[in-house]
């Protein structure tokens, strides 16, 4: 990923920047400039409101990754999940600091700020959201 492309996405990767339709109140992540739900799309044009997701949600579905993507070799096996956010949008993200056998659907999670990847030893480091279990229940001794 180029430096510029990632930089353009920092608002949503760092702060879960989303958009909200003033007509039907639906929240979108990543942000949309038009609401696809409203029957007359034009009504939302230029009226979509910027907002921020709370970071709270629950595990909708998940998988355990054993064959890592580049840059994730040190983290296998790790959990990748679909997270249903409190505001409605569904996000894909890694669940950190959890034993894969402790994960299940419906567990409450919160967004956490982590390193996503680095462009080699001398390139830019990319940061953004991942998810951790709410209250870290599974992490307790």
């Amino acid at each position: 990923m180029t430096v510029a492309r990632f930089w353009r996405e920092t608002l949503r990767r760092y702060n879960l920047g989303a958009s909200k339709c003033p007509e039907c109140q639906a929240v979108f992540f990543p942000p949309r400039s038009v609401c696809p739900n409203c029957s007359v799309h034009r009504k939302s044009l230029t009226k979509m409101e910027a907002c921020q997701l709370s970071g709270r949600g629950e595990v909708y579905s998940y998988t355990t990754v054993h064959e890592a993507a580049d840059g994730f070799e040190m983290q296998v096996p790790y959990v990748l999940a679909l997270v249903k956010m409190a505001e409605g949008p569904m996000l894909t993200g890694q669940i950190v600091d959890v034993d894969p056998k402790d994960i299940r659907e419906g567990l409450p999670v919160r967004a956490t700020f982590r390193r996503l990847r680095a462009d080699g030893d001398d390139g830019v480091i990319h940061y953004g959201y991942k998810f951790a279990l709410e209250n870290g229940a599974a992490a307790k001794k």
């Binding site: 920092t10 760092y14 702060n15 921020q52 070799e73 040190m74 983290q75 950190v96 600091d97 034993d99 956490t112 700020f113 982590r114 390193r115 996503l116 030893d121 480091i125 940061y127 991942k130 870290g136 992490a139 307790k140 001794k141």
Partner: protein
Amino acid sequence: MKAEGVGIVSYGTYVPRYRITPDEIGRVWGVDGVAMGKNLNIHSKSVPSPDEDTITISTEALRVAMTRGGIDPRDIGAVYVGSESHPYAVKPTATIVAQAIGATPNLTAADFEFACKAGTAAIQVCMGLVASGMIKYGVAIGSDTSQGAPGDALEYSASAGGGAFILGKDPIIAKINATQSYTTDTPDFWRREGQRYPSHGGRFTGEPAYFRHVTECGKGIMASEGTTPADYQHVVFHQPNGKFPQRAGKLLGFNEDQMRYGMVTPWIGNTYSGAALIGLANVLDHAKPTERILVVGYGSGAGSDAFDLTVTDNITNFDRQTGTPVQQDLDHGMTINYSIYAKFRGKIRLSGE
């Protein structure tokens, strides 16, 4: 030094989940790890995940502080991050942290470096900016993911964690009555540019370095404030291990009760720039109105920063539960073995590296 009316508005901490014991480290290097842990008074130390660094730890700690204090990011006028493990040599940690809490662009930001006391130095700078009226709130963070060379004595203590403090005038949960520093050129611990692990002067890190600076700075601030150890309910020292702060406390005349909440290193290890700040956070987690706190940080190279604080009535209604209270981090963690630790800390090199 005094900064009239300035105090702590909010605070937050972050300690990685993973832990390793001295016993496990000693097992790998053929050393009696149990004895080593007992000698250092360290039961376990925190270990960051491969995707955690000083930037992520600082951000998590500050987000807790922002939520607890109900702070509008636009009111933050300065973000300073003190660390000796900034991920970039050139590119500030503070800009990423400030962006991640939504405080950019109308603020000043910079990274501080002074071994383990860079975070307390950041507090002093924020005190000046707030007192002068240049900013409403200033953020001072001390955070590290430091490492000791494999097999070195430092490997038993060097850990990861951070504390974030928001300084301002209103509403404050703890007033900073005064601050004082004691600084000399003392080469007790260093890391040359480009070197992976730090070096230290062995026994030299004790008497002429840690103990001299901490006790002189502690005595100095008590002399200027006209106080004695009996005037403080809590005391926090920089804690490179669990033994040094105990001895410093005794040398200054404090008892174990006063040091109880300020001691965190025995359970999470030496979080370097975060150590004294996480200790202070644990004290604030338990503090009551009117209680007085003495904090004496230390950074190799060398210097100490001391703070005299008084807890205000606002602590009663302050949210101390959002995020993870320090005690929870002291009590819980996921214990890993040395193999996983070595993988997480980049001590294993993959082919092609």
